[in-house]
């Protein structure tokens, strides 16, 4: 049951909602001014509808706080990072096709 959709996370709840989460998490680092970020947003939402039971889908607006993006060395958006037990499993940069994103998500299933 995917009850919450794509969760908005910030510097303040990143630790509790992503790092310490009891499920793997996919975080989409984005910004409102970024075209490619807008392009992949509907795909992330679709994946959430399919895989939202077993994985947390979240997005981090890099405009809201620099700490977390800097910590993960983010220098291009969109960057999508997959976390499991608080560590980075893998990451994808740019507007990658849905099939790539789906393969990526399956790494933690």
């Amino acid at each position: 049951m995917a009850e919450q959709g794509v969760l908005d996370v910030t510097d303040s709840n990143f630790e509790s909602d992503i790092i310490k989460a009891d499920k793997p998490a996919l975080v989409d680092f984005w910004a409102p001014w970024c075209g490619p970020c807008k392009a992949i947003a509907p795909v992330i939402k679709e994946l959430e509808e399919t895989y939202g039971d077993s994985i947390i889908f979240a997005r981090f607006n890099v405009d809201t706080g620099p700490n977390t993006p800097a910590q993960y060395g983010i220098r291009a958006i969109p960057t999508v990072i997959l976390f499991q037990n608080g560590t980075v499993v893998d990451q994808l940069v740019g507007a990658v096709p849905k099939s790539h994103l789906e393969e990526f998500v399956k790494k933690v299933l």
Partner: protein, 303 residues
């Protein structure tokens, strides 16, 4: 509502844009077309498979003919690239490489397809760790750092100028610039350091980008390199308007059989909507988009 509002603005003057202009202007719409004839992928082609032209035609001949036809119907041509698009209530606004703003009730995207990747050693490896394809998205991550931009056209030059607001030092690597005189002057009067008759040979670093090796033998010590080949394309000009792309490749704009995108008043035609990349398809879609946009603009004007 802007004073000199166009009914139909077309980004791109390849076969799709020209046919759209002919049909929209033929319906008495006020039409403006942006883009450069020589940048159409048809320009250097020799064409033998386009219906009704039995003798082999050069792409240049076809494009020049199409331009004359569109002009005779009243379409206006602006030989500049578009670097920004915005949607406002009941109209779209576009900004040219010279910084001029135009508004139109409808917008047709016919920018074709262009190469985005440099295909050099280190490029793939450092994506997201110094290699970027979008100045507008990523400039903010390079505050106080040294960066390079590579490209010969408006995207690279306007990108380099934008980066001056963020980075400490901006290098532009180009073979030969094809931009407007005004943009050229703006570049020459800026602090951008230009490496001319040069191209990127290799991107070097350990964990992140540290150096860019040029074909001239020169090495630039930079933290990032922005690859901005050509003019801004679909991802840069359409995605920010909320246009839906095909989910499978994220390269093409989705349209219905009236060439409408998911945004009312916004159409797309030609190579930008996907294969087959052929003139016949481009003009077919351009025709539909031009007529539909003209009708839509009329409705908006009357309401």
């Amino acid at each position: 509502m802007p004073a000199d509002l166009y009914d139909v603005a077309i980004i791109g003057r390849g076969p799709a844009g020209l046919q759209a202009a002919i049909h929209a202007a033929g319906k008495k719409a006020k039409v403006v077309v942006f883009g450069k004839l020589e940048k159409s992928s048809l320009y250097r082609a020799h064409v033998a498979n386009f219906c009704c032209f039995e003798k082999v035609m050069t792409g240049k001949e076809l494009l020049e003919g199409g331009t004359k036809q569109a002009e005779s119907f009243g379409a206006v041509f602006i030989e500049q690239d578009i670097i920004e698009t915005k949607s406002e209530t009941d109209c779209f606004t576009v900004v040219t490489e010279n910084g001029q703003t135009y508004s139109s009730r409808t917008l047709i995207l016919t920018m074709g397809i262009s190469r985005k990747k440099l295909r050099v050693k280190g490029e793939k490896e450092f994506v997201g760790r110094g290699v970027s394809y979008c100045v507008d998205c990523d400039a903010n991550f390079y505050k106080g750092m040294d960066v390079a931009v590579v490209g010969n056209e408006s995207a690279a030059v306007t990108g380099a100028i934008t980066l001056l607001r963020y980075a400490k030092q901006v290098h532009l690597v180009c073979r030969k610039l094809t931009i407007t005189d005004l943009l050229y002057d703006q570049l020459n009067n800026s602090d951008v350091k230009i490496s001319r008759k040069a191209w990127v040979k290799e991107i070097i670093g350990s964990n992140e980008v540290e150096e860019v090796l040029l074909t001239t033998g020169e090495t630039l010590k930079v933290n990032g390199i922005f690859i901005e080949l050509g003019a801004k394309g679909a991802m840069e000009l359409a995605a920010n308007l909320g246009v839906v792309f095909d989910a499978e490749t994220f390269s093409f704009i989705e349209t219905n059989k009236w060439q409408e995108t998911n945004i009312p008043g916004l159409y797309a035609a030609g190579d930008i909507t996907g294969q087959p990349w052929q003139i016949a398809k481009a003009v077919g879609e351009g025709c539909v988009a031009g007529m539909e946009a003209a009708v839509y603009a009329r409705k908006l004007a009357d309401s």
